[in-house]
Symmetry: C2
Subunit: 357 residues, 2 copies
């Protein structure tokens, strides 16, 4: 059996193929998105996510084509002039660049790949939105939850946007201290790519309406007022990826049955296992050195000249690590630690790494 | 066996379920969109479409989340100030409204549902883009190709955008007389929803670059320069719906094997069969009276008070018509005539309609 450790698209959640079979039996792939049955699927997916993530009642959930789309929609809908971005990798940088492309005055606090932001983050007071990447998929740096909440404390007037693309459902966010959070389904939820999930609170809805009333263009079919008008009816403005919404509803149901606290504990256990193995290894070390910012869901190993040899050794055992990102392609390996990766997968991975000396 | 005649999402192309099985065997649903294998899939899908549709070499193909997204992207990328929309149904109207939402001076020529535009279409000379809906899914009106080409003749300086969402691959367009054409895969290509296909010529690419160089915002990851920079490498800016692009490549291959001229001839045959049955029926008539604008791919029947009875009769035989659109929900039925609908499906449909007196 092959195990895919790439951090996204990643290994499918182990129940997905069965759910696809059922979907075809039930006619889901050609189901009308204006049917009652679709509304039920939408409701099951979003109610399930509310329960799994303990979302407060004032949060709304929308579906988009990708998390990349959500970057653009957040800027369009929630920023009139100025956003501030915490940049420490390729994906947080892209969010910043998209804000510029959409025509806003985007500012940033930038640190090197593999680093965190420390205590002093300078953000101007007239910033409308602070953009944080909870888990940098490119570097394996995770921002501690308290550090995220402190941003809200220091800038209560700004909206706080959290990119949780490669961490949810692992982090136990206090959503009352955040304003909008998003992810895409092909990472830790283990689904085929092609769907983004965007969660917003009432302040976001109010801000989008404010910009619209000022006569600004906030997009069209996927602006928040349009998404919201449809979401309350469990519908989408366009013909969406119906099959993917169905599969999400089923995988969320599976995760609820397993229990979010079990999923979180297992994630912690597997992460500890791999970080210990990397620390104790003679040829390899964790790329992220500062323990408090080491990601639990995307673990990056500095393998230097041994990268190719390690990759090949793991592959002979059916394990496929992700390559390093960008300029680290040939010197690092990335390991997704998602709910579909079992303790046994991780034990085998760690044992196999130990064999390489 | 059930046959779904709703005009979209419609009945799946009959090979799709097999292709999904193969996709899972080959690991397509968790394939990295930055892998060589994905590039091969992208190339097969787009090369296949080029051949199936006889696309000129200067056309480029991009993938989006939906055709609704393409409406927005066309306006963002190809219009600085003014677009003109031919409106004769709900979907052409929505394209017009999106242009307004994106902040352009959108003008329209509007006729009633079920009607065509005749010979005299007044379009201002400073119009940058003329938006035409080849096939109005809401009403079953199709614009004759010559009438579309005449718009280009009269306004050679404007870009001509054609919404072919519910007609391609049926129409044999002369793409040299058009500038951008688009569709979504859940209609006549018979795939699960969640992918739009956007085809643009070099004039569109040049126009988007012109607007960008003027400092206008033309969107971000899905603006034409970004899509184009990735498309030449057979890649996408974001993590796309990989499974859907794979399925499209396979269904296009199947259609090429069957032959586009066979598909077109069978579509004509089936349309003739149904229109004749509607003409000769004592209780029912075609909603679109003017023959030259009767759609071949979405055929709308005025059923008045008999709508429910006809629907039930067809359903007892496993045939599921689409309901009328909007205010026609209770008085019309819509029948998709797509490549997945066989001659036998249509013969059974027509025979069953004749039984209702």
């Amino acid at each position: 059996m092959n195990t895919n450790f790439t951090p996204g698209p990643s290994q499918l959640y182990f129940t997905v193929e069965d759910h696809v079979r059922t979907a075809f039996k039930e006619g889901i792939p050609s189901l009308s998105h204006r049917s009652k049955k679709f509304e039920t699927i939408y409701r099951e997916a979003t109610d399930g996510l509310r329960e799994l993530l303990s979302l407060p009642a004032d949060y709304q959930l929308y579906f988009t084509g990708s998390a990349t789309e959500i970057w653009e929609r957040i800027i369009q809908n929630l920023v009139e002039e100025k956003s501030h971005h915490l940049v420490n990798g390729s994906f947080s940088k892209r969010f910043f660049e998209i804000a510029q492309q959409v025509g806003k005055k985007a500012e940033k606090s930038e640190v090197a790949f593999g680093k965190g932001f420390g205590e002093q983050i300078q953000i101007n007071n007239n910033t409308e939105l602070i953009a944080v990447t909870h888990n940098e998929t490119s570097t394996g740096v995770s921002m501690p939850l308290n550090a995220i909440y402190k941003l809200k404390e220091a800038h209560p007037e700004a909206l706080l946007a959290v990119d949780a693309v490669s961490s949810l459902p692992f982090p136990d966010f206090n959503y009352n201290l955040l304003d909008t959070v998003f992810f895409s389904v092909q990472k830790a939820f283990g689904l085929p790519a092609g769907l983004g999930v965007w969660m917003v609170n009432e302040k976001c809805i109010a801000k989008a309406e404010l910009l619209l009333n000022k006569g600004l263009s906030i997009g069209s079919y996927h602006n928040i007022p349009s998404l919201q008008a449809h979401a309350v009816k469990y519908q989408t403005p366009e013909t969406p990826n119906v099959l993917s919404i169905y599969l999400l509803s089923k995988v969320v149901e599976d995760m609820l049955r397993r229990g979010i606290s079990t999923i979180r504990k297992e994630t912690e256990y597997k992460a500890t296992l791999l970080y210990q193995a990397l620390e104790n290894h003679s040829l390899v070390k964790p790329f992220v050195q500062e323990k408090v910012i080491q990601s639990k869901t995307v673990i990056v190993a500095d393998c230097g000249d041994h990268t190719e040899r390690i990759t090949k050794h793991l592959q002979t055992k059916g394990m496929h690590p992700g390559s390093g990102y960008g300029s680290f392609k040939k010197s690092q390996l990335r390991f997704a630690n998602f709910p579909t990766h079992s303790k046994e997968h991780y034990e085998l991975l760690v044992d196999s790494l130990k064999e390489i000396v």
